[in-house]
Amino acid sequence: MRQRLQDLDWIGLYLWVLRAAIIILVVWGTIATIIDNPYSPRQWIDLIIFGIAQGSMYALIAIGYTLVYGVLFMINFAHGEFFMSGIMTATVFVATPLAATGFMNRQPLLSLLLIAVVAMVVSMSIAVLTERAAYRPLRKAPRLVPLITAIGASFFWQYYFRGLFGSQVIPFPVPDVMKGTASILGVEILKTQLTVIVVTIIMLIGLNLFIMRTRTGKSIRAVAEDKDTAALMGIDVDRAITITFATGASMAGIAGLLYALVFTQVHFFMGFFPGLKAFTAAVLGGIGSIPGAAVGGLFLGLIESVGPSLFLQGLGIPAPHQLKDVIAFVMLVLVLIFRPQGILGERLTEKKA
């Protein structure tokens, strides 16, 4: 960390006051809530599980952001749309007909697998197409330029899918076996949420193996570090970048399926907010870092779920859940003031020129 002694006067002071104020507010609110004790232990556990399940989904989407960022240093604003496109298509063309014929309840696993494959393939195709048409020609342009085309692509896909499937909410049929709760170590947990958590863990492990162990994974890491040198090793940089997009998008496709399972409906605008949250999660965890994306997602999910009840309830603030994003972003600022590189990010000691 560079010395910035000359600035450590009133700005430093302000920062300390700010930090102290946030921390005091949080602690005060927490204590007040605990004294007030409106929640039963069961409810606290529920809140935590809700948070973990929501956070898992954020984590899966955040990975796409982080992968692309790691390779291209680009905020892929359209990632939320990759998430939406896969599951929208799979719902209309696969899930609904399967449910209507009753096949889904006869063969739930096979059906979900089929939906997952379709969602992944569509998400991947959309991602690859977008990369090809809107990002690749601008690979050498200043970094804000692809950000703008990404925003453009985001609008485009949103309204394209709205045109395709209409603006209404489309229900996602959940197989009967996924309904209800399961008991794990004495804690009642919804089967769908359990699925989310388990699938996320499997996907994260799988992705880690893919990136760390396989030849393709290594080529992605090499391209992330230095595109020219990677090319000198015989790595097709364009191909590696395409694979990166495809990998991130397939994670988003799976996240889409999990979303549909938990919330049982899909909508053309469903990618926007989760996309934004996942982007936040990626930065929170340290953008560019896969474990960071996972941790950031979980942290964000937990804060959103537990935060309003824990910090604000005790302060007597009206409608605290309306302010959950405020808490999330304040926490983000707090984390970044203390750790500018994010929770698991590496320090910015060396600069990429």
Binding site: A222, E225, L232, G234
Partner: protein, 237 residues
Amino acid sequence: MAMLEVQDIHAYYGNIQALNGISLTVEEGEIVTLIGANGAGKTSTLRTISGLLPPRKGKITLEGEDLLKYKAHEIVYKRVAMVPEGRGIFARLTVAENLDMGAFSRDDKDGIEEDRERVYELFPRMKERITQVAGTLSGGEQQMLATGRALMTHPRLLLMDEPSMGLAPVLVESIFETIQEINKEGTTILLVEQNATMALSVADRGYVVQTGEIVLHDTAANLQQNEMVQKAYLGID
């Protein structure tokens, strides 16, 4: 037929011309060096050969085959390798992974293992640091790693860009010894150097580059004797 033939290449960065009609040849088994001042076009020449900087004009052939129709990553499969300037190692990968990346273009397991052993022979230090993350190596070690990684592609022609840059004099000598050793084992080398003294002492022939053009071409021994070269690049008045 010469192994590598570069004819009249012109290359640009944006609108700024970097190469203004470079021509050179490299014969099989040679060490050829390109010397010149900072910004003369040496690195650009290597980058055009390795495919990183497609020229606007000119011709590059490898044993008669047109190289320009290939992209950078395809040229590696023609067994032309480059040790980039400033080492260009993958700082977050381990030493072993860096070497693996060098073998990315190959799938002959036995051959890879053989080459890996050969690299460890050349640079015993690398073997000690197999699991270390490359970013934490010293400058000399990074140069070794970069060279070793290039050797892992099993090249016939090795393009080396400023291998001595930023190294302590002791290390510079050992690097150049290694270069000669690699050459003796049958790899042709095109070497770009600012340290003209060292470069000419190991090379067979040399080219002098100025502002994107070749201004002089002779055997290394003759160049060492050339007055202008002595003055400009060897620090002899």
